[in-house]
Symmetry: C2
Subunit: 381 residues, 2 copies
């Protein structure tokens, strides 16, 4: 078996299972733990690249499913990749499309060969295979690509979960072969651990993928409706199953408490659309818990969203203005709240990293969560 | 008759009727001719204040009608003015609300006393008078406020136009008295010349308002559906009627050709929502004419919107990306196109100013328009 190129990855310190690591990706070093903003269609909604750089983003995510529908793979083949298009100078990670086919497409039919689905935009039929998704992400030019996986409902029964898991492993093998066949340089492919809510299947998936020796591993199919306890429990299981010397990416997690619990269980990378979607609806994170900035309580509030935050929104604007903007549907409101929420999560991962390097992650996490949840009932209205 | 405080206004040079002037407003010097971006609800759509500063904006407009509905005058009375809310450090001009009551409110009843209307948002009834609108704009704290006027349809008959004109003059007198009574400092009130499409009525309006000795004058009721020739003709009429030593503001004009024709006829100030609204739909100005950036022709275009433009969008992004963003409804597309269009119009007024100072405005205008219209049929698709 030919081997995939190793991703330069250094575990600088471990504090319990929590890890502070450094990854050398083609578009710069990424220090972990890290939260990755999501730019679904080649744009982190409302923001420009300087705003992402200012908040400390070193890697952003984009969605293969959306990009292959628009601007299309033919576009990337002729124009060049997503870095050229967006002018983003740092790293890009793309997902495999598996989750979006599962959650967005209006019709889908999965066989061992691949998946047929109808576009959620124009109903046009598309056929994807593990090989096509390697090719797609090669054309997009992401620094980290995901192999195609089969996603299932959170409550899927064991037989269904086993079928999907076996297919996911087989597709990972095919993607691996395709990746090598295409002789792809300067991109890294991650395998995605599936297995639903079954401990034994999760272990099986992690072990099978480990055999394929991918340069990094993602955990899919969590944060899809299960309880937080179930999710944390599954991360506990996986903490000992996933290779120590490779990055671990928990897909679709983007609230402070889950990020901290993930870090505690050895996760290095996180992404989620929640912080920006939440922001556009007036939801913001603060050290004192979540706030709904549209509530009457903030009508005359001349203080920033979070008085300790150094983001552009907090350094320049008060709650009263952001509240007004959101109430009258001015985009600048969602833009400022998005800047804040992303900055907040990136800073949380940076502070976690610092705590891990100083072997005090447990106390950092405890202090953060105590304060974060203390006023919950007062401030979320 | 007590007199209104004079606005420090210096005509630096005249080139035909075209003027290069300097106004000393409370929030900094404004050099004219100038195009003023419109921030209807206290935000120039999608943009933050640094972006406005970067494009050279020294004065922005906001709409009294919208602000009195949300966040309301009670809000401003308790919180402070619009500068405090938006953190915009330069000048603000507010309109009188007359045009929005006319164009947006679902029901309106005008008497000599004032105007009753229903909010276009929640149907709530409001009553406005010239006195209330002075108070409103005092609370908003705009550097330049407009007196309440009565707006009419472009095709209104002469009797209707006379009635509205007489009321507008009476309302201007009342606003003037109220302004003096309130002892307003550091704000300036402009009268609004009306008179529809009737030359004699326009002259009458200008003369009546001149008597009231406002520190500046606006021209309302143009660019509302009449032909360009009719509008330019009316500006010709007014060029000799309006005081030489005071700023002249043509309301609602925001395309290059009208701005240049206005400048040629002695106009100093312009505003319009068109450049930003047009931008959000994919319309952009360029030295070679208007472009619809969403057209297929630009799919692979790696050049900026206008290769001579120094705006943030043109210095950093290509047409292919902005086209993609607009096609998939990403806000960043409209944001970049808005930055470009506003920058383009402000630069056009700055270049006009330079030409006026060098007594070559006519040739500057001719060269600009020749190039601008040369490729029209090729590029607008």
């Amino acid at each position: 078996m030919n081997s995939l190129k190793k991703l330069p990855f250094n575990v600088e310190n471990k504090d319990g299972y929590a890890r502070a690591c450094t990854m050398e990706l083609p578009h710069g070093i990424v220090k972990t733990p890290i939260f990755m903003p999501v730019g679904t269609q080649g744009s982190v909604k409302t923001l420009c690249r300087e705003e992402l750089e200012d908040m400390g983003a070193t890697i952003v995510l984009s969605n293969s499913y959306h990009l292959l529908l628009r601007p299309t793979l033919e576009f990337f083949a002729q124009y060049g990749g997503l870095h050229k298009l967006t002018k983003w100078k740092k790293n890009i990670l793309t997902d495999s499309g598996g989750f979006q086919v599962f959650s967005l497409a209006s019709m889908r039919k999965i066989t061992d060969e691949g998946v047929t689905f109808q576009s959620h935009i124009d109903g046009k039929k598309h056929f994807l295979t593990p090989e096509i998704m390697v090719e797609a992400q090669r054309l997009i030019g992401s620094d980290i690509m995901m192999v195609l996986d089969e996603c299932i409902h959170g409550g899927a029964d064991k037989n269904h979960t086993i079928t999907a898991l076996n297919r996911t492993t087989k597709w990972a093998e095919r993607a691996r072969i395709e990746f090598l066949k295409q002789g792809i340089q300067d991109q890294y492919a991650f395998g995605i651990v599936q297995g639903g809510m079954y401990e034994d299947l999760r272990r099986q998936s992690a072990r099978e993928l480990k055999e394929l020796d991918f340069p990094g591993y993602s955990i899919g199919g969590l944060s899809v409706g299960e309880t937080k306890e179930e999710m944390y429990g599954m991360l506990d299981v996986l903490a000992d199953e996933m290779p120590e010397d490779k990055p671990r990416y928990l897909m679709g997690v983007g609230v402070p408490e889950d990020i901290l619990e993930g870090i505690e269980r050895g996760i290095d990378m996180f992404d989620c659309v929640f912080p920006t979607r939440f922001a556009r609806h007036g939801g913001v994170f603060s050290r004192d818990g979540r706030l709904n900035i549209k509530t009457k309580a903030f009508e005359y509030d001349t203080s920033p969203i979070d008085s300790e935050c150094q983001c552009y929104a907090c350094k320049n604007y008060d709650k009263a203005y952001i509240r007004h903007l959101l109430r009258v549907n001015e985009v600048l409101g969602g833009r400022l709240a998005s800047i804040h929420n992303l900055h907040f999560l990136i800073e949380l991962t940076q502070d976690s990293r610092k705590a891990i390097l100083e072997n005090r992650f447990a106390s950092f996490k405890k202090a953060f969560l105590e304060r974060y949840f203390q006023n919950k009932n007062i401030l979320i209205k």
